[in-house]
């Protein structure tokens, strides 16, 4: 508080005057109550002040009746925001608990002795349903750059080659094997294209 704190060691009148609000609200007790009553009996100014303070108290309570929400209004408005906050916190606790369980499960899984899944070995010649194999013979004059360009365009990978006859075995997406084969056949610098897979 920035203002002065009054010292109430002065006159009996001033001392009683400061206590009047609590005489009015009925909380004054003991020696203070006796002293105030004794002074009040003979002091017209304090009597007027007491009357005014009683009016103030009544006005304060009346003002409350006009502004404070009724109990019914409180219930009608539903649960206040803080309950939502607390419920949100309860919900957050559940989330945290679930997260903790997940972390625990993950931790246990990671700490278990590592057991590698059975290795799946594939030979280059092993059939792969998603890929089709083509045998391609390029013209001797075809540059390496042009060959790479053709392979990229066909999404082809070199599986084998070149053979003694100069042939390459390519792996291409099975779903597009036919158009790729046709495109390679039409491409300049490609002398032979044939499918190695039965029925394709």
């Amino acid at each position: 508080m920035s203002g002065r704190v009054l010292r109430f060691g002065g006159s009996a009148h001033a001392d009683v005057d400061r206590l009047l609000p609590w005489l009015v609200n009925g909380t004054l007790q003991g020696e203070e109550l006796e002293r105030v009553r004794a002074h009040l009996a003979g002091c017209a100014a304090c009597q007027r002040e007491e009357a005014w303070l009683r009016s103030l108290q009544e006005a304060c309570r009346t003002e409350d009746a006009a502004t404070a929400p009724s109990r019914r209004a409180v219930h009608r408005r539903g649960r206040p925001a803080i309950h939502h906050a607390l419920r949100r916190r309860a919900w957050q606790h559940w989330v945290i608990a679930v997260q903790a369980v997940l972390v625990l499960v993950l931790g246990v899984a990671l700490l278990r002795p590592e057991r590698a899944p059975p290795a799946a070995y594939h030979t280059l010649s092993a059939p792969d349903a998603s890929r089709a194999r083509l045998v391609v013979v390029f013209a001797p004059s075809l540059s390496e750059a042009r060959m790479r360009q053709l392979l990229r365009a066909c999404d082809a990978r070199v599986v084998d080659g070149p053979t003694a006859a100069g042939a390459w075995v390519l792996s291409v997406p099975a779903a597009r094997a036919t158009p790729i084969r046709e495109a390679l056949r039409a491409a300049q610098g490609v002398t032979l294209v044939a499918s190695l897979d039965a029925g394709r």
Partner: protein
Amino acid sequence: MRFLQATSEAGRAAGQDELVLLERICAGDAQAFDALYRAYQPRLKRFIGGMTRQPGLVEEVLDDTMMVVWHKAPTYNGEAKVSTWIFAIAYRQTLKALRRHGDEIELAEERDAASSPEPDVERQQQELHRHLGRALAGLSAEQRAVIELTYYLGYGCREIARIMDCPVDTVKTRMFYARRKLRTLLELKQEEAL
């Protein structure tokens, strides 16, 4: 919590009920919190509204207050009544909110020191009822807090000192200047009305 050391007044039925509620709140019982909230909501709203004179702030400060009650319930030590403890929290939260909104908390009492004319009791009573709201708005938040705690909530001087965490003489000083300021403002309102 040292519930057994609660004051004798808090030993009354209502006080005991509140102590039980606080104990349950300590254990995280949301239903107990709900009951305490509903018991205190009207009084707290009135107190916060009276202190701030800003209806828009009331719900915010009320929630802040009850959130502190929820979190700090284990720190209640029974030295004061539960209601005194809760209103002390509300008082501090209201001051915080007013500071957040850049409001003036205190008024230099010297500014209010002008003497007022001798009252005409009958006339002033009528003016009081008519202009009280606006006159209260002219007081500082701390002065309004003393008025609210005394006249609406019916607290004694020492209990108010506990709530406001200040000496008893400071409470008397705030009340003294609040009364004087109210008189002056009501006089002004009366002159404006003429």
